[in-house]
């Protein structure tokens, strides 16, 4: 519906507040979406540390990997804003480059998420009995430590994390999955704008269409800022 409305200038361009209808709608929507993600995050947080069986966050999370994908998403916000700035200045080529790179970074982020989900689903407990240091094991791994008694050197057991496994899986996949869905929608939106611009449909005068997509994109980014901190970085502190 976005660039759409480029053509839909409507009859009330002179609005009471001087603000554009669609931009006002977009901000009201973002305020509303805060409540959506707020509820999902609240669900995650109140259930944190309440799972009855593992694996738990500290078993599956890989902070370095997620840091990279977080960085990619942050940078995509920068390229988005640069695309918008280029458009308002009439630099169409720069605009196309930046908007495409935004979409590509968005897809990279989704790629990371797919990789991460698969990785979690294939999680294996790995106990190196030969060099067993119980202190360094996670709570979940400790429940396997006694299997070393039989004189096994090391062993692995498949304990994949799925949305059904425990409360952590349920809340984690739902929260990050909905964020991923938002990113996916954003990528489709950006690609349609890019496609449209190659056909001459995006002009500096219609930059509002890009502005709205950009607002949405940055919002998805700030939601991830919260998720990265609350879910990943706090994830290792059960019982906060």
């Amino acid at each position: 519906m976005a660039q759409a409305a480029a053509t839909q200038h409507g009859e009330h361009e002179e609005t009471t507040t001087g603000l554009n209808h669609r931009k006002l709608l977009m901000w009201a929507f973002l305020g509303s979406d805060c409540m959506f993600f707020g509820s999902l995050i609240a669900t995650y947080v109140v259930y944190q540390g309440k799972s009855k069986v593992g694996p738990f966050p500290e078993d599956v999370f890989s902070i370095p990997v997620t840091s990279v994908s977080t960085f990619v998403l942050l940078m995509s916000s920068m390229s988005m804003v640069l695309a918008y700035a280029a458009l308002t200045r009439g630099k169409m080529k720069a605009f196309r480059i930046w908007i495409l790179s935004t979409a590509i970074m968005g897809m990279t982020f989704i790629g990371f998420q797919v990789f991460e989900f698969r990785d979690f689903a294939n999680y294996e407990v790995h106990i190196d009995c030969a060099h067993l240091d119980v202190e360094k094991l996670t709570e979940f791994e400790k429940t396997f430590a006694d299997q070393c008694a039989d004189g096994v050197e090391e062993f692995e057991e498949q304990h994949g994390l799925t949305p059904r496994t425990n409360l952590f899986g349920t809340t984690f996949f739902t929260l990050t999955g909905f964020h991923g869905a938002h990113v996916t929608l954003g990528v489709i939106w950006l690609l349609s704008i890019a496609f449209h611009s190659f056909r001459g449909g995006v002009r500096p005068e219609t930059n509002l269409d890009v502005d709205l997509a950009a607002l949405y994109w940055h919002f998805v980014d700030v939601v991830w800022i919260v998720i990265f901190t609350v879910v990943y970085l706090f994830g290792v502190f059960p019982g906060i």
Partner: protein
Amino acid sequence: MTTLSIPVPSRPVHPTGVWGWITTIDHKRIGILYGVTAFIMFITGGLEALYMRAQLARPDQELVSPEVFNQLFTMHATTMIFLAIMPMGAAFFNYIIPLQIGARDVAFPRLNAFSYWTFLGGALILKLSWFFGGAPNAGWFGYAPITGIQYNPGHGIDFWAMSLQVLGIASLAAAFNFIVTIINMRAPGMSLMRMPLFTWMTLITSFLLVLAFPVITVALIELMFDRFFGMNFFVPAKGANPLLWQHLFWIFGHPEVYILILPAMGIVSEIIPTFSKKPLFGYPVVVLSGAVIGFMGWMVWSHHMFTVGLGPVANSVFALTTMAIAVPTGVKIFNWMGTMWGGSISFKTPMLFALGFIWLFIIGGLSGVMHSSAASDAQQQDTYFVVAHIHYVLFGGSIMALLAGTYYWFPKVTGRMMNETLGKINFWLVFISMNITFFPMHFIGLDGMPRRIYRYSSEYGWDFWNLVASIGAFALAFAILVFMINVIRSAMKGEKASADPWDGRTLEWSIPSPTPEYNFAQIPTVRGIDPFWAQKRERVPVAPVAGGSGEDDAHSIHLPQPSYWPFLASIGLFIGAYGLVYYQSIVGMTAGILGLALTIVSVYAWSFEPVNDPEEEH
């Protein structure tokens, strides 16, 4: 104009008859569609209630099985709240708001059409569950874990959840639309503090909707994921806490009850000044108290949960915040009384209903304050005392005000007056039978009758008042029948209405009855509250403004044109949501995917369709 060349069927040009209604994006027609649909839903919800009252009229009756009874009370509440009162409010928003703020339409006319058709789809998903797969049976609150697949394997809950999701989309779309419309489309000079009270309450209601619905959306997503994919959000065996559902539900649910009552208060705040020939007493305070009620609606949700064991601190806090809401509510009532004080009160039917509203709302408000006391509420929670309370605020409050609004604005919509004699009969029948129905419920509640029981035995001593309540319910149904007769009769051969039959104060009375398609031939300029009254009494000219086309000739006003896409997008949502209920079957999954695809295609096509077709000649 558009660079995209998808095969778009040529857009509807001046469609007539059914197609005219299906493709309409005129806020007035959409308002009528909302009103008529909501009233039909109100009747179905009423029949569900009558069936229950018949069952409870005598002890130990077996007219319905307990399972059907559970479906009846679930459907009755869900219907009345989501399919009757909310969309009746939306009917008034749609028809009246642009007229009150001096606009020719809403900000997003096609989104408006989409809201209506999506609402209709959601309503059908819910109501058709009676015929396909069984109605939901866990109450409108759907407390976990009884909604879980383990305790509720049928499709009833799926229909309920899907329907609420679709209705949520409709409500959100409508609320965004009205926020933008009210903020951005006011006539010149109409500052926020000159807006009519009904417009103000609509704005506050829209903000409540926009902020509250995402919460229930998330709760329902979690419930559906539990049911469809075996997740654990509300599965106690996996460590989940069923109270999470209650919290999320009431974080939505309490603002929701203000979504139901604030428009009613807005309507009453329009009617009382008109029929007292006085401006609303303390206008800024009434606006502010509405805003405070809306805001405080977020701070009280756990008063629905006083008996779940939140502990003394939480119970005390929520008891106090709940009591505090009585202050802005009381302020509104006092200001209505202040408006009438010294006025010249004419007891036409709309005013009678508005006064009935005040009386019943005082009673409902006072029983609400009784509930706020967490300690003594432990005896009242989940008894008929609560049933009495909610019906005093929802029937005595919302429905009385909506009836008042119907009598008040009927001439503007149809160009004919409603019959005054029938109207007065209608009012007294509703008022008396409403009290006969619901007042005894206070007694049986305090005598220990729990809610949601399909039968009771004589030894408990609840026979007499249950019988009285049942008789009242049938009398109430008769009263509503009188209302229907009056509406139909008046619409067909009622006395012709003038533009301003009540000596009104706000802008909608300055234009002809029935409203012309373009609303205002000239966009008015506003210089204060009650602009039309000022114009009439002080001879202040309403200066034409270069709004819209900037031309004074009504025939050259360009209105947004009809469109297929909102309707098709809604159809897609309906098919998609219906299919997803049966996602386990190939047919269901296919329908789900095809429906959602239709929605996506329609939205995409819609976004490339100009509001006004350049090819079209006017």
